[in-house]
């Protein structure tokens, strides 16, 4: 099932979430070979950043908590990777973040010159005191950063939202108005905290972290449902998708593409292939095409 998405042809509706594996061209290519239609790079920042100390990622069984802390070589320190990526034969989203409208614009403009297929701006990352999240909870600040970035890039713009917004539909609408070509939702939920009672210490070095994986799926489905109501641009739905049925649920809520992050842990790197096959089986059993079911959970009334 090939899919048209913002003018590009994808081999299927599966998307690799940002921050999952996407650290190099080689591994992105492997994810693509394992059945992923569209892969996202780890978010790129304005400056070199090591991220937080470990522990940064802990599996909780029904999902995970992480505070990796936006490590990035910095957008000016990735020449090898860009060189590698120019020779790619797979569609690519470059994810960027900044600490101010100016930084978002600066990073996005540079990254745009490296010809990713899409740019995603992460206005929703909860793991850094200064970056991201602050934009994504408010429609006005989201509008500001989106319109600034939109002006300086020449590839379609995807905006990644946080479920912490009091009304995520409002934020999505503001992004659409500002020129966003698609919405990606959701980033991690929370933040949460896990305390080890023996040492009486929060387990993550950063103390708080974002939740992902199966436990956040209901929040993600609700957000995508709300966004679908609010905007006309396509949605990449992600958060807790682990099976083909999960992907179909997300698509019925309103997503055009279905992203996967944590499930790489639960089902392996070939989760993309597995989920695509499960979706295909379900769709053919039910005589539906992928397009038939986008937003199907939105009935009148």
């Amino acid at each position: 099932m090939t899919i048209q998405f913002l003018g590009k042809t994808l081999k299927n509706p599966m998307v690799l979430a940002s921050g999952i594996l996407g650290n190099s061209r080689d591994i992105l290519e492997r994810v693509h070979e394992n059945g992923c239609g569209l892969v996202t790079m780890k978010s790129i920042g304005p400056e070199p950043r090591d991220g937080h100390k470990n522990p940064t990622v802990i599996d909780l069984g029904h999902g995970m908590i992480n505070a990796v802390g936006l490590p990035s070589p910095g957008y000016l320190n990735m020449e090898n990777e860009w060189e590698d990526l120019e020779k790619r034969e797979f569609p690519l989203i470059a994810s960027v973040y900044g600490g101010s409208v100016k930084e978002y614009r600066m990073v996005a403009e540079f990254v745009s010159s490296k010809n990713p297929d899409f740019i995603e701006i992460n206005i929703s990352c909860p793991n850094s005191e200064k970056h991201g999240m602050i934009f994504g909870i408010n429609p006005q600040s989201s509008h500001d950063v989106v319109s600034a970035v939109k002006k300086v890039i020449n590839v379609p713009l995807i905006v990644k939202l946080t479920p912490q917004a009091p009304d995520i539909g409002d934020v999505a609408r503001a992004c659409e108005d500002a020129g966003a070509d698609a919405i990606c939702a959701i980033n991690t939920v929370g933040p949460g905290m896990v305390i080890d009672i023996e040492s009486k210490m929060p387990v993550l070095a950063f103390k708080k972290g974002g939740l992902s994986g199966p436990m956040i799926k209901p929040v993600a489905v609700r957000c995508v449902f709300d966004i679908y109501k609010a905007v006309k641009i396509p949605i990449i739905g992600l958060g807790g998708i682990t099976t083909g049925e999960d992907a179909i649920e997300m698509i019925m809520a309103g997503a055009s593409l279905a992203g996967i992050g944590s499930a790489v842990r639960y089902r392996g790197i070939d989760v993309f292939q597995k989920v695509t096959r499960e979706m295909e089986a379900w769709l053919s059993d039910h005589h539906y095409s992928h397009e038939d079911i986008i937003g199907a959970a939105h009935k009148e009334g």
């Binding site: 921050g19 999952i20 650290n23 591994i27 780890k42 990777e81 210490m201």
Partner: protein
């Protein structure tokens, strides 16, 4: 139901500490850890950091890790005492592939001895066991095994003066034929061992090392070419190694920046 040890940390107290030399200490824990030689655990010292360590001793209800003092974390780790609290999660990754009837060689370099120790204890008596280090103080477990060991040091302070690669070549030249070679040590050493094996058509298994965060194949910190070291490795066999173009060339820093191994490994297994 088998205990879930690879999710949240299991908090354990140091049961015993064994000083191996000025540079090395071994911490024992009384806990029944499921484990295969070559696998590793993430070790958390509350308030400090969390790093991957191989299991260097393992029995039904006890295991240990052996730490070489290098940076902040490992220097802290070797000062831990009996009853100090650490968190562990794991084991992660795939261990060595063992066939008990095979005639094999084991080649250890420096603290690369640690993951090979529990392997050696599962191998048969005609194993050829080569162990090298910078100098005498860096020879781990000099008296631990009841297998003969061929020792060498860079400065000749223990065993032969020279490199493990030479010892392996000698053994092969002397007519020994190996079904498999296992090796762990500095990446450049493993690379040379691998090349010797390729030349002589001997299957080889090496244990790689990269900076790690999650330990279970999600965060991407540890990628090496198309391989995810924590999940697909840390042990890789010859067929995998042939495809890893970053083997002995490239590694990612904490920031994700790719650098050459000289830059990345200057601190590792001196």
């Amino acid at each position: 139901m088998k205990p879930i040890t690879d999710q949240r940390h299991i908090m354990l107290r140091v049961a015993e500490k064994q000083i191996e030399s000025q540079e090395f200490a071994t911490l024992f824990f009384n806990y029944a850890l499921p484990f295969k030689p070559g696998q590793f655990i993430m070790v958390w010292i509350p308030d400090i950091d969390e790093k991957p360590y191989t299991i260097s001793y393992h029995s039904k209800d006890r295991f240990a890790i052996t730490i070489e003092a290098k940076g902040i974390f490992s220097q802290k780790a070797i000062t831990l005492e009996k009853d100090d609290l650490v968190g562990i999660r794991g084991p992660f990754g795939n261990g060595f592939n063992i066939k008990s009837d095979d005639t094999v060689a084991v080649v250890a370099g420096g603290c690369g001895m640690a993951p090979l120790a529990t392997l050696v204890e599962k191998l048969n008596k005609n194993t050829t066991f080569i162990h090298g280090a910078k100098s005498k103080e860096y020879i781990l477990y000099p008296d631990r095994f009841d297998l003969d060991r061929l020792f060498c040091t860079d400065d000749g302070s223990f065993g032969r003066k020279g490199f493990v690669t030479e010892l392996l070549e000698n053994e092969i030249a002397s007519g020994k034929s190996f079904d498999r070679v296992y090796t762990c040590g500095p990446e450049i050493m493993m690379y040379h061992i691998f090349n010797i094996c390729e030349k002589h058509h001997i299957p080889c298994q090496v244990s790689l090392e990269r900076y790690m965060r999650c330990g279970f194949g999600v965060c991407g910190a540890c990628v090496c070419g198309k391989q995810v070291v924590c999940k697909d490795g840390p042990v890789f066999d010859s067929s995998a190694l042939r495809g890893i173009k970053d083997f002995n060339t490239k590694a990612l820093l904490k920031s994700g920046k790719d650098v050459n191994l000289a830059q990345y490994f200057s601190w590792r297994c001196k």
